[in-house]
């Protein structure tokens, strides 16, 4: 059995969940590692993946098994419908769903809230997102290797930005150079559309690139991330166009050094850094989350004008910085 599914089923047993209805693609992807078409932006909840504790089976919304691993056989696929009642109706036919008492969901809409309560009147709807977040946080060696591969891709694509950064090139063109290289180095999609923005003294980095052309003496903030086989790798650096880039602030090393077993995420954030979880894309972490070996973080510091960010593996005694570009 796929180790992620095994962990999710164990967590469901501990929490007393009978069924999970997952609408968030990153949750479905974690459970199945299926490669489905990625669409940018948020999407309102609709159940794209169903996990049944009693049978241990996973069912997915799909008309084909293309991209879907063999542990989810074609008989476990339920079809797309434009009528939400049909989708839910199909799900209630799945073995173990009609008898379920507790169903975890990772989001809801007013419509699905009503439909679930109407079609499964005895069911209690509970928070499945917290369960998935906690299960997804600690990474196996295999998971970390996949993140290492994503870091390799993001760094290769970052090099295209370094190469393209010349007098007169626009911020948008730098974004184009990055995404072109990304696609031929193992990732079809960024985890977010990156920052490629000229540093303006005293102002925080702008997230969204414009058609502004780079001038001599400009410093440029570059923050980029990719998804490779679902896993994220991200990096942030400040580049110069005919300009000396000031040294990376020492605060960055201070934050990174705290990424060890037993620390809290809040300890790292207290240094002024932005700290986020890295996994199947962005993973949300609370200040109170305790670090343990295997957790992967994106740690970013900004000290005007220098932006720097690294993908970091939490270690027992010392962290491992997975991103290696200087």
């Amino acid at each position: 059995m796929n180790p992620h599914l095994e962990r999710v089923l164990d967590a469901m047993a501990d929490a007393g969940f009978d069924v999970l209805l997952l609408g968030r693609e990153s949750n479905s992807r974690y459970v199945t590692m299926a490669d489905r078409l990625s669409v940018a932006g948020s999407r309102a909840f609709a159940p794209g993946c169903v996990v049944v504790r009693e049978t241990g089976a996973v069912h997915m919304l799909s008309i084909t098994d293309d991209g879907i691993p063999p542990d989810v056989p074609p008989k476990n696929l339920y079809p797309i419908s434009w009528n939400p009642m049909n989708i839910l109706g199909g799900i209630t036919q799945i073995e173990g769903v009609a008898d379920a008492r507790t169903i975890g969901v990772d989001g809801l809409t007013p419509l699905f809230d009503q439909l679930i309560k109407g079609m499964l009147p005895d069911v209690q709807i509970v928070d499945g997102e917290t369960l998935l977040r906690e299960v997804r946080q600690a990474k196996s060696d295999e998971d970390v290797d996949a993140i290492r591969a994503a870091v390799e891709t993001v760094q290769a694509a970052f090099s295209a930005v370094t190469e393209a950064l010349k007098l007169g090139v626009t911020e948008q063109e730098l974004k184009g150079a990055f995404e072109e290289r990304m696609a031929v180095r193992g990732s079809r999609t960024p985890s977010f559309e990156g920052t490629f923005s000229v540093a303006d003294a005293g102002k925080p980095p702008r997230a969204m690139p414009t058609d502004r052309a780079i001038k001599a003496g400009d410093l440029v903030h570059v923050r980029v991330g990719v998804l490779r086989d679902g896993w994220e790798g991200a990096i942030a650096r400040t580049l110069g166009c005919e300009a000396e880039v000031p040294e990376i602030p020492s605060a960055h090393a201070t934050t990174i050094a705290l990424a060890v077993d037993g620390a809290n995420v809040g300890d790292l954030r207290a240094t002024g850094a932005t700290v986020e979880g890295v996994g199947i894309g962005h993973e949300e972490m609370a200040d109170g989350d305790r670090l343990e070996p295997g957790i992967v973080l994106f740690i970013e510091n900004w000290s005007d004008p220098v932006l720097v960010g690294d993908t970091v593996l939490v270690g027992e005694d010392s962290p491992e910085v997975l991103t290696t570009l200087l």
Binding site: S42, P110, E129
Partner: protein, 392 residues
């Protein structure tokens, strides 16, 4: 390298935001809703004009902008992680720091800001669902879709520009699609060109699917029809491959939807040309029925009369779908909601639709492309500009 695309027609983004909100407020009055609480990013873009960087869903939901719109037409309140994306006309005390609705604390902050009266919401995070327990909330979808379905002149111009950028990128990429090229290389070149041309985001993983010639040669299908779309593969394209293209990019929050068929490394053969002609004829027949007051069923019936053996579109999709700040939104024509539902969908000026019929001849592949049209007072205007050079 492509140069940023210039545009002749005027576009006034501030007017577009003003007119969109006026439409929303009108619908709120009509439907008895006093306030909208919006979490969906396309909805927040539409209602409050807030821009955010395109992102994978996992980041998009955790760094989402949130908007509250009130029927008294006061400026919206927005919470955003990207203050640079808030529109200039929004008073600074209406732009608040980003809310983390994945935690109870953030959910309670939004609860505290909840206006009185009848409130409608588009979706819940689980902490928000928990703190809102006991509150009677309506579904915001009906207000949103009623406002969104009719586009203003500025919205039409955004969709036109998104289409033009998408088409120009395709024109730049197409000559490089030769035997030996990998699908992922095509993706890379396409992404570079859209940003050079001025796209503000890429919305859908670009699709260049090598089609089987028959359903049974293809991957498993639950519908019995040909499977489309599937994710782009790293394998090199081969001489004679039949490729169905499908892309979506964003310009100022509005989506393009580009579809076409390519034959790799050679000219289409007579059979393929005939399929293309049938597709274009089918579009003509559907367009003849396309005018204000026509029902969606009038259009699907016109398409069915051309191809009596099988409905000429993918059965898990539709003959046509609307497009705007979402890449597929109302109206939908020819879905599994059925003919009776289609009878109730009546076309009106300002609606924008993507027609995506399919000509499939099992054993010989098929042709698929997409035309984007707007309903006008007189009938329709075609917003897309597909190239037919290799098919004529």
């Amino acid at each position: 390298m492509s140069a940023a695309l210039g545009f002749d027609a005027p576009l006034d983004l501030a007017r577009m935001r003003r007119e969109r909100r006026a439409k929303l407020v009108e619908q709120m009055h009509a439907q008895g809703v006093d306030a909208l609480v919006l979490l969906g990013q396309a909805n927040v873009t539409y209602a409050a004009g807030v821009r955010v960087p395109a992102a994978d869903q996992a980041r998009a939901i955790h760094r989402r902008s949130v908007a509250i719109i009130t029927a008294d037409d006061a400026p919206p309140h927005v919470w955003t992680w990207f203050p640079e994306g808030a529109p200039d006309e929004l008073p600074s005390d209406h732009v608040h720091p980003g809310l983390s609705l994945e935690w109870e604390e953030g959910a309670r902050q939004l609860l505290d800001a909840l206006p009185s009266g009848t409130v409608a919401i588009d979706e819940f995070t689980m902490p928000l669902y928990a703190v809102l327990e006991g509150h009677q909330l309506a579904d915001a979808t009906m207000v949103l879709s009623a406002a969104k379905v009719m586009k203003t002149a500025d919205e039409l111009e955004c969709i036109r520009r998104a289409s033009q950028i998408n088409e120009a990128a395709i024109e730049a990429v197409r000559p490089t699609v030769t035997p030996g090229t990998r699908g992922t290389e095509v993706t890379g070149r396409f992404l570079r060109h859209i940003f050079e041309l001025g796209a503000t985001g890429n919305s859908v993983d670009p699709i260049w699917q090598v089609m089987p010639l028959s359903v049974k040669e293809g991957p498993y299908t639950a519908t019995g029809d040909v499977v489309f779309p599937t994710v782009t593969k790293d394998a090199p394209l081969e001489d004679g491959d039949l490729v169905w293209v499908d892309n979506g990019i964003a310009y100022e929050g509005y989506q393009s939807d580009f579809g076409h068929t390519w034959v790799v490394g050679r000219d289409p053969d007579d059979r393929q040309r005939s399929q293309c002609r049938q597709w274009r004829d089918l579009i003509s027949v559907v367009l003849e029925a396309t005018k204000p007051g026509a029902s969606a069923r009038d259009l699907t019936r016109a398409a069915e009369e051309v191809r009596r053996d099988r409905r000429p579109w993918l059965p898990h999709f539709y003959l046509a779908h609307g497009i705007g700040t979402d890449s597929a939104e109302m109206p939908f024509l020819g879905t599994d909601l059925g003919n009776e539902f289609d009878e109730t969908t009546v076309l009106a000026p300002g609606m924008v639709m993507v027609l995506e019929p399919v000509i499939w001849e099992d054993g010989h592949g098929g042709f698929r492309a997409e035309e984007v049209i707007a309903i006008t007072d007189a009938g329709y205007e075609i917003l897309s500009s597909l190239s037919w050079a290799e098919w004529e």
